[in-house]
Symmetry: C2
Subunit: 324 residues, 2 copies
Amino acid sequence: MQEQDLEFYAEGIFSGNRRVIAKAITLVESTLPSDRRLASRIIERVIPYSGKSVRFGITGVPGVGKSTFIENLGLYLAGKDHRVAVLAVDPTSRRSGGSILGDKTRMEQLAAHENTFIRPSPAGDTLGGVAAKTREIMLICEAAGYDVVMVETVGVGQSETRVSTMVDFFLALLIAGAGDELQGIKRGILEVADAVAINKADGDNLERAERARKEYETALHLVMPSSRSWTPPVLTCSSVTEGGTANVWHTVEEHRRIMEDTEEFGQRRRQQALDWMWTMVEDGLKQRLYENETVKRKIPKISEKVEKELISPSAAAEEILSYI
Amino acid sequence: MQEQDLEFYAEGIFSGNRRVIAKAITLVESTLPSDRRLASRIIERVIPYSGKSVRFGITGVPGVGKSTFIENLGLYLAGKDHRVAVLAVDPTSRRSGGSILGDKTRMEQLAAHENTFIRPSPAGDTLGGVAAKTREIMLICEAAGYDVVMVETVGVGQSETRVSTMVDFFLALLIAGAGDELQGIKRGILEVADAVAINKADGDNLERAERARKEYETALHLVMPSSRSWTPPVLTCSSVTEGGTANVWHTVEEHRRIMEDTEEFGQRRRQQALDWMWTMVEDGLKQRLYENETVKRKIPKISEKVEKELISPSAAAEEILSYI
């Protein structure tokens, strides 16, 4: 039965059957052990056919116009016969009730296009779990022939770091501040971005956006670039002017070309796969720790003793480790 | 016998006996299980008397004049009847042969002063191990009455992040670039610094230093500050002009005053202790993993399969976790 199931899913995915793709993704998102087992086998079955897309990560806080940016860029690419999948990593979506990509009214045009596939953030208690599922969903989309996979995140709880480790190109979408030109950037964004784009650079806002662009350029120059052959540029873009999102895509393409020429592309993909493996191992270890009943029972007392400086953090750690 | 040993060390530490302090630190640095056990008991014994110093972390790559800065500041403080301990976290010192604070000719004047205690970076294979030992040595120094503990690091392998989690104030020491004003900053430094100081701001270099100061100020404004009531300033300093290092100390004192007023000081210390405990627990878990014989034997093959995309990182992680 499972063998038949496996081939049903594999064939559906390879032929680009959206209904089957959606069902396979539901298995990946499921918490039922039997579903998880089948999902793992599906992933192993399709993984040789994955990897052929441009993996494009986008982060930006609410209000920067991320949905409109993605919809415009997605429509532009779909119009050029690209097949575009849009996924999301949002560890807070189920808890807070709100969800990126969860709102059905968002990206209506893009969702209706025959060349696109949109999937909201999977549910999950931990960022690690949510990100792991999104990564597996990306592999399924690639095996189904989607050649551009956009992964968006609101950058909550270091989700931008997780997303940056699963994509080829990571874009930080910002806007020029209303009263103040400067906008707080969360921990790590500048260091993992392959480009920064100041959105809403149009009309009255054009001058402010250009000023913000220059400031971020200075800031980015102060950060050690992660690639030998790519200095993250700071762009401006707009969803209301002609070609306003296409210029961002040209940067993604140029980056891809340079990374392939210098062989950094394959290196980055291989390193990401290994890093991902170790992240999953460490997440698994932590999960075992935090789910350990003795540890759970002892933690409040141990934490209190550490806070009151009755025992050293080292001694407390040794005690916790002794329970597992 | 051990009880006598324990009291011998405790009394020696409380009375500020340098020879006994040095011996206690040697126990902390030892890898012998019996030494480690005694060291743990000493730490537990002295921890109620620790915590009363200004914990001052300093990072800077070789060439920024860190030793001279620390020597000058240390002499300034010792001259004002402070008792100053200088420790180091340098995970590479034993491997590379070079070592910060290892060179006997460094900080000669400071080392000779009766109010100071200088200790090079402890040996260790892992950053976690080195940092953990330095933290324990800090507690011993505090119990011995040192009221300023400087912890220096060259910022190798995220050691600056580790040091920032054990100090009250973390300073990034930089210089204006020779040809280029801009200097690459390693991952995370801007985010964990409570202040940035451009060193060698004197003579011909004054103008360049001032320009660099302004640039870092812009960059720092783009990073979300870690405190509600403190925006990390960018200072200039010099080891050759009068009062050139004292102004940095005034900033440290001002920071302390504000943090105590807002009660962030105690919160930060308590949070650091808890974070430290969890870091030690996670380090301990990883150590168990990496020292597991089956895991060690299987890793090369599993890694190869992941790199060649024969299995997914998730499946590889599950396999690794199944061995422990």
